[in-house]
Every structure is written in C-alpha cells, then in structure tokens.
C-alpha cells in the first residue's frame, strides 16, 4: 500500500526534452528558451522564477499548451503533444490545465458563477452539472455566498479566488499560476498562498511563475531561469513543517 502510493506520487505529469523556443527577428533569431530539460511529477509545488526576459513566460506558455515550442519534445501525462494542432491543444488545455493569471482575467459582464462555469461550456455536459460543479468549486475557495455577484463587486483577493475556482472546476492535472499574487497586497497574498498550500496538500500539482522571491520561497521546488536556460533547480525538504511555518510568518 505504502509502495504504490509512493510510486503514484512519483508519476510524471510533465516531461520536457530539449525544448527550444525562438522568435524570428530581422537580423538574428531571438532564443527565449534554450534546450530546456525538465520533469515535473504529480503533486509537486513548483516556482519558476527569474528576472524579466529570462524566458519564464515563454516556458509557462509552453507548459500551458498556449504555444508551441520551436523544437524539442513535450510529454503531458505520458503523451507527446509537441505537434498537436490548435483544436487538440484547446481540448488539452480544457482538460488538463487550470490557469490563474496575474490580472485575474475574469469576464466583467458575467456573474461569478458563470465565470467559473466557463471552462465547462466547452464540454458536453448539461447545464445543471455545470452549475453543480462550479458551485462546488466556489465553495472550496470560500465564495459560496457570492455566486451571482459580478467580478467588479469583489475585492482583488476574492477575484483571484474566483479565478482559482475556475481553474479547479475542470479538475486539471496541473494548476498554472502566472504571477498569481502580482496585483495583490501582502495580506491578500498570504491568503492566496495559503490557498495554494491547501490545494497542494489536497494533491494538486501546482506551478507558479513568479519573480517574487517570497512566493518562490513558499514552493517546494524552485526552478530559476536566466536568459532562456535553467540555472538552478532546487528541491527543498517538503516534510519540514517548521520551514513552512517560518515562510508563512513572512506575510503575517
């Protein structure tokens, strides 16, 4: 029993081999990513960090199936998806990836409930099921009472929680946050980070792209990119609860 669980914990979710991304320029191609090799296992809690222009956004776009790599292999849950067309990629995004953005990216004209239901619109399920799943996800982030509110009636932290609910509603393989606390004050940042911690404890695989050291320190594995290359990949002792506690106190 113990053994099987440990094997499943080591299950590969993402595997990148020699991923390169370049943008054609007038004189010389610009390489955003150079031969990235990376493996991400299930239930990892990862920060991708680095200065501006280091390629972390490019990497996030590729991990999120929003963009194709120029070359290299990308396995997601064991399937090579490097050469899929846009229709297939959209379906993969819908099924496997939950996005959380810096600017929340909620639709202003839609209620909280409808915002969370949106990813389910692209699936063949009934409206009743969509409402049930979305309500459940909103309950998980503590917004069960705000179903019919509009996003602009909520605080920044609440909006980001709606976005988290929207990411969770499809039960994705990975949750991908792009500077998820970039627009939030420190108190709200602590709240949101606590929520990521909880999600991680519940078994979710979380990847956060950030340039804030505090956020990176929160994660259990920190991948640092400089000029399109991985310069460090440090895993911390995840069992050390004292460490967690110490980090949390940073935001208190």
């Amino acid at each position: 029993m113990e053994v099987t669980q440990r094997v499943s914990e080591q299950e590969k979710v993402i595997s990148l081999t020699n991923i390169t991304k370049y943008y054609p320029m007038a004189d010389e191609d610009f390489y955003a990513l150079k031969n990235i090799n990376l493996t991400i296992n299930k239930n990892e809690y990862i920060a991708i960090t680095g200065p501006s222009g280091s390629g972390k956004s490019s990497l996030m776009n590729i991990l999120g199936c929003l963009d194709h790599a120029s070359s290299g292999e990308f396995y997601l849950s064991g399937k090579n998806i490097a050469n899929h067309d846009e229709n297939t990629l959209a379906k993969i995004r819908n099924k496997a990836i939950g996005f959380i953005f810096q600017s929340f990216n909620l639709l202003p004209r839609m209620s909280v409930l409808h915002n969370v239901m949106q990813p389910l619109v692209y699936r063949f399920i009934s409206n009743a099921q969509r409402v049930a799943l979305a309500s459940e996800a909103l309950t998980r982030v503590g917004l069960a009472g705000k179903l019919s509110s509009l996003p602009n009636q909520l605080s920044g932290g609440q909006r980001q929680r709606v976005a988290i609910a929207r990411a969770l509603v499809t039960k994705p393989a990975i949750i991908l946050g792009d500077e998820p606390t970039g627009n939030l004050d420190s108190k709200t940042t602590a709240e949101i980070m606590a929520m990521f911690d909880t999600l991680h404890q519940q078994g979710h695989t979380i990847i956060l792209v950030t340039h804030e050291q505090e956020i990176a320190d929160h994660c259990h594995r920190v991948i640092r990119l400089v000029d399109g290359e991985i310069t460090s990949d440090i895993s911390k002792n995840v069992q050390h609860s004292e460490n967690n506690h110490e980090q949390r106190s940073l935001y208190a």
């Binding site: 990216n105 639709l107 004209r109 839609m110 949106q118 619109v121 499809t170």
Partner: protein, 412 residues
C-alpha cells in the same frame, strides 16, 4: 457533427448574451438589415395587394371576355390612316360566328360627349352606347331597376342605365328610376342603376351611363357609330384561337385586305390585360427589390464592420476563452452565430415593420385595400438575411478564431 452542434448551441447562447449586453450597439448594427428588409416587404406587400386587386377586378369583368378593336399601326398613323370597325362589321360577325355565347357592340368609351345634367346639377361621365347583350358579356348587374332590353334597342328608346356614383354626383333621389337626365341636349329616362364596383388606381369605376346603341345612332347619325368595338364571350367548350382566326378572316374579307396588308384588328382578352398588369407589377417589384437588395448588402457590410471592431475589442475575452479550452472551431461558431442572430433579428423586426408600413400605405392608397405579404417574400428575406449573416459574419469569425491564444491574452 457533435462538436458542431455543441459549438452552435453554446455559441448562440454566448452570442445572445453578447447581443443583449450591448443592446444599443446591436440595434444600430442591424439597422441596415431592418431598413432593407422592411423596405422589401413593404414594396412586395403593396404591389402584391395591388396586383391581387387588379386580378380580382379583371375577373369580375369576366376573364373570358374578348374585345375586338380596330388597330392602326404606328406606320399607318404616320401616313394619316385611321382604321375603323363599323357597325356592319359587327352584324357580319354576329351572324356568322357560331361558337359564342354572347356578342355585343359598343361605341368606345369617351368618344361621345360626356356632360350629364340632372335638374341643376351636372357632372362629367363616360357614355357607352351598346345593346342589351352587353350585360351578359361584361357581367354588369342592376342594383335597382333593369338593364337595357332588346325592345329598347329596337324602339330606340331614350333610356339610360347608370353607374352608382352618378346618383350621388347628380344628387338624384335614392331610387332614381323614372327620373330624367339630360345628355347633349336630349332627355333620357333612368331605367336602372348598376351594382357598385369600387375604384381601381383611384379611378372611379361606377361613373358611366349606358344607353342603347340604336338611340345614339338615331340622334347622332352614322358618323359616331361607324367606329365601334365588338365584345364577345366564347362558349366554354369552344377554342378561342379558332374563333379569333375565323373572325379575323371575316373582317379582313369585308375590308378587302390582301395578305400583304398588316394587322388591322386586335383581339384583347382579359387574360392578356391581366398579364400586362402582372408584368408591370412584377417589374416594379423586381426593380424595387433590386434597389433595396443593395441596401441589404450595405446592411451586411455594416454588420461585418461592427463585428470586426467587436472582435478587436474582445481580443482579451477571446484569449481567456482560448486559455480555458475554447477551440478555434468554437470561437468561429460563436462569432458566426452572433452575426447570424443579429441579421436574423434585423430580418424579423424588418418583416414586422414592413408589414405595418404596407398596411399603413394601403389605408391611404385607394385601390389597394388589401396587404398581402406572400410567403415567398418572407422566405426570401429570411434566406437573404441568413446568407448575409453567414457571409459577412465569416470574416470577423475567422479573424477571432485565428487569434493566437498568447497574443490574445496579452492584448490590453
């Protein structure tokens, strides 16, 4: 297929939401279509109403009635000729042609003096000199009194059968039978009043006086009566073309025409008159429809223009939808549906407006009491607006579907 249906249904939901959340913009976008469709429907409805009215009136006249008139070709006219058909021609036809129910003669309308007097009141009217068979040929029925009888013909009685508007125009008693009216200095007794026919193109069809041909002849001499028209109704079993051939032969013989001489008589059937009217109304409808068709095209371009702006404006929204898993196909359907729904809404509103407008016109325009929107016009407008929605919605929809998710998400 399942994907397509799913995308259509969810796409239309999203489209409806987007249309109603920008109600004002949507209304302005589809205004071109509304105006175009309502214009088409109005024109078609009024013309169809008019056309149906004319057909009905012509049917009332008797659809199988034939009028024979002398015909002068433009060439002859320039040479100073004027062909006539005489009373003797009529008698010759009457005696020789077997396959006809009734045949009658009349002095062409408006060739006699037109002033009529009753007491101190006078009016202008149309005087028709004919015989007692006339009522059988052109379906004219008395409301009061009786029509001309054969003894009126025979005895050259000074009697008249009048149209119903004359009773009002001359301020005659409600039952004018037995009253006397004055026509070019002679007194005539009213023996009957016709049933009301109504007006056609604003032209009063009940303003006429019918008096015996023989009486006119005795009062005016041969000069007026040597140019007549012959009206007849063929037997139901007979073939009209055979009768016409036969009649033409008799007339040409009587007028000593050789084979080289052109046509001197024309045979006008009610069917032919109806065809002429129909061709007029059809061409008016077509021309008008063509003109408004252009306005529909402009309306379609309006939709495309606003949709293109809307795609740019909603780039971020499209990016989010794509990140959340909307396929290009789905986005395409959503925008296509939006264009389609917009133009269909325009079509429906235009249809209702057009019908209302046509009904309003019918109230003010005499002779088109009924408004008819033919089913084909409804299908045509819907077909046209659907086509416009799809054709002009396609470019913006493709633009939206092709947006790259990363670029769209980054768009501010």
């Amino acid at each position: 297929m399942r994907n397509f249906i799913h995308a259509s249904i969810e796409g239309s939901k999203a489209a409806l939401q987007s249309i109603f959340s920008h109600a004002m913009r949507s209304a302005l976008t589809t205004l071109g279509i509304i105006i175009g469709v309502s214009a088409v429907i109005t024109v078609v409805a009024v013309m169809s109403g008019l056309s149906a009215n004319i057909s009905k009136q012509l049917d009332d006249l008797g659809s199988d009635m034939v009028t024979i008139k002398a015909y002068t070709s433009p060439n002859q006219e320039m040479l100073g000729f004027f062909n006539r058909m005489s009373f003797d021609d009529f008698l010759a036809l009457k005696g020789k042609i077997k396959n006809i129910d009734d045949i009658t003669v009349r002095i062409p309308p408006f060739s006699l003096g037109s002033k009529v007097q009753f007491g101190r009141n006078s009016s202008q009217t149309q005087i028709i000199g004919t015989d007692s068979s006339y009522k059988n040929v052109i379906n004219i029925y008395p409301e009061l009194g009786r029509f001309l009888s054969s003894s009126d013909d025979l005895r050259r009685r000074r009697v008249v059968f009048i149209g119903s508007s004359l009773v009002k125009k001359l301020k005659m008693p409600e039952n004018p039978i037995g009253e006397f009216i004055k026509l070019s200095g002679d007194w005539f007794r009213v023996i009957g009043v016709a049933e009301t026919r109504g007006s056609l193109f604003g032209f009063d069809q009940d303003n006429y006086i019918i008096t015996p041909f023989s009486t006119i002849r005795s009062l005016n001499g041969n000069q007026v009566t040597d140019n007549v028209e012959v009206l007849f109704r063929p037997k139901a079993s007979a073939k009209l073309s055979d009768i016409i051939v036969q009649m033409r032969q008799i007339l040409r013989q009587r007028h000593k025409l050789s084979e080289d001489d052109g046509e001197r008589f024309e045979f006008v059937t009610a069917e032919k008159t109806k065809e002429q009217f129909t061709s007029i109304t059809t061409s008016v409808t077509l021309v008008a429809s063509g003109v408004v068709g252009i306005s529909l095209l402009v309306g379609g371009i309006g939709i495309m223009n606003i949709m293109l702006v809307s795609v740019t404006e909603r780039t971020k929204e499209i990016g989010i939808a794509k990140a959340l898993g909307a396929t290009p196909q789905f986005i395409l359907m959503q925008f296509l549906m939006e264009a389609l729904v917009l133009s269909l809404f325009g079509g429906i509103i235009g249809l209702i407006l057009g019908y209302g407008l046509a009904a309003l016109i019918a109230v003010f325009m005499p002779g088109s009491s009924s408004v008819i929107v033919p089913l084909w016009a409804i299908w045509l407008s819907f077909g046209f607006t659907t086509t416009i929605g799809v054709v002009f919605g396609l470019a913006p929809a493709v633009k939206a579907a092709k947006l790259h998710p990363v670029d769209a998400l980054r768009y501010e």
